[in-house]
């Protein structure tokens, strides 16, 4: 039972509003929040954690390791 008879309807949210794929660069606030966490993460990072991070980033940017034979065009 509501405590008031003065009920006000809230606006509906249109379907399709949810977009977790919105590019981070379009939201300066979230971008800075991530940068602040990253700065703290860097300050606490060990060499082992750094190499794991570098491995993941390298795999992201360069998913297939090129063999020496391929570089010679054989």
């Amino acid at each position: 039972m509501p405590r008031s008879k003065n009920i006000v309807r809230m606006p509906e949210v249109e379907s399709g509003s949810y977009d977790p794929n919105r590019p981070l660069l379009r939201n300066a606030l979230l971008l800075h929040q991530v940068m602040h966490f990253q700065k703290i993460e860097r300050e606490r990072m060990t060499e082992g954690q750094a190499s794991d991070y570098i491995r993941r980033m390298t795999a992201l940017l360069h998913p297939r390791i090129v063999t020496a034979g391929e570089t010679r065009g054989e």
Partner: protein, 407 residues
Amino acid sequence: MSRGLDNLKHIVVLMMENRSFDHMLGALKARDPRINGLTGSESNPDTTGEPARVQPLAEYQKQLDPDPDHHFPAVNKQLFFGTAAGAAPAMQGFVQSYFDQRKDVDHSRKIMYYFQPEQLPVLTTLAQSFAVFNGWFASIPGPTICNRAFAHYGTSFGSVTMNPFVINKPIKSIYDRLLEAGRTAKLYYFDQASSTMEVVNLLSNQSAVFGTYQQFIDDCAADRLPDYSFIEPNYSDHPGSGGGELLACDQHPDHNVAQGERFIAAIYNAIFDNPEVWKSTALLIVYDEHGGIYDHVPPPALRPEQKDGGTAPASDTEGEPFHFDRLGVRVPAILVSPWIRAGTVIPGPESAAGQIFEHASIPATVTEHFLPAYKGARTDREKLSSTFLQFLGDTMQKDDDCPSFSD
């Protein structure tokens, strides 16, 4: 002391993101001329020299993309474009500033759009059912982090940027002040995936201060709110921990404004639904800054004695050094309590009897109410800021006269 103040046990602050007063509440002037909103004739020149008039065409989402620039140099342009040297800000540069981002004249004019009250039933109902401030300004003509710092510390320690690595003892946060005095305080973020904007200074050093949105709801239901609560909205679209889709509710462009309405309603309902909490709580709903969106009221200069002590270097302002001697753009601010007379309009700079509020008013008010003998360091600016609990009176509104929000 009023009966409202006698009953007051909890102060709750909900800080939303990046919307100006006129954008959200300006249309209310047509309903109540005491509200310093829009007449409909306000305009800014676009880059072709044509006037771009304010129009009630704001949409919940997919309109202000990209995020309008609200860093110090852009806000300077929004305020001072077309202003004679030494004069008060003409507020004529909002369209010019937004044009700088997309180089699209038609799109740049959308920075003048505002909402109809019917689109924002939660915010506009609360504004008319309790107290709305005509003169609450962002503390700095700049972005989020430095403005939010004023709400927590009463200063940004000389910063006008998004850099949070600036905290300078001995000025303590409002949370430290309360806890050291044996009082209670909590900063509720939405969830771990959204977290807090107080990443460095508070989350790193005082993690015990934090709770989540769900804990706030539970604390209201169980009547165990702390003396002081500060609530942060959800800053991102992300999956819920138990599945489902959680929409950002901060109203930061280009997040859905209707979802923010629903969040504000949820915070209000949580307080209202527990009669013990309702009669003993004052809820301030305020926005951190204007987000680059048009407002017609020139931000006032501070009085010389309201010294902050900081100076932002020219490298941060891309102009002259900034001495923290004037405020940022006006933002929506609403004070909710059953002890406030419905339809209260708190006059601002448009009135000789008006008062100026800014985010330093938050620690100033909390300190004055809960720690009246506090002797720790504070800026003169905070000490001389207007406080806002005097609007609680002797008569409690009946429950049936207060709104309750529902689907």
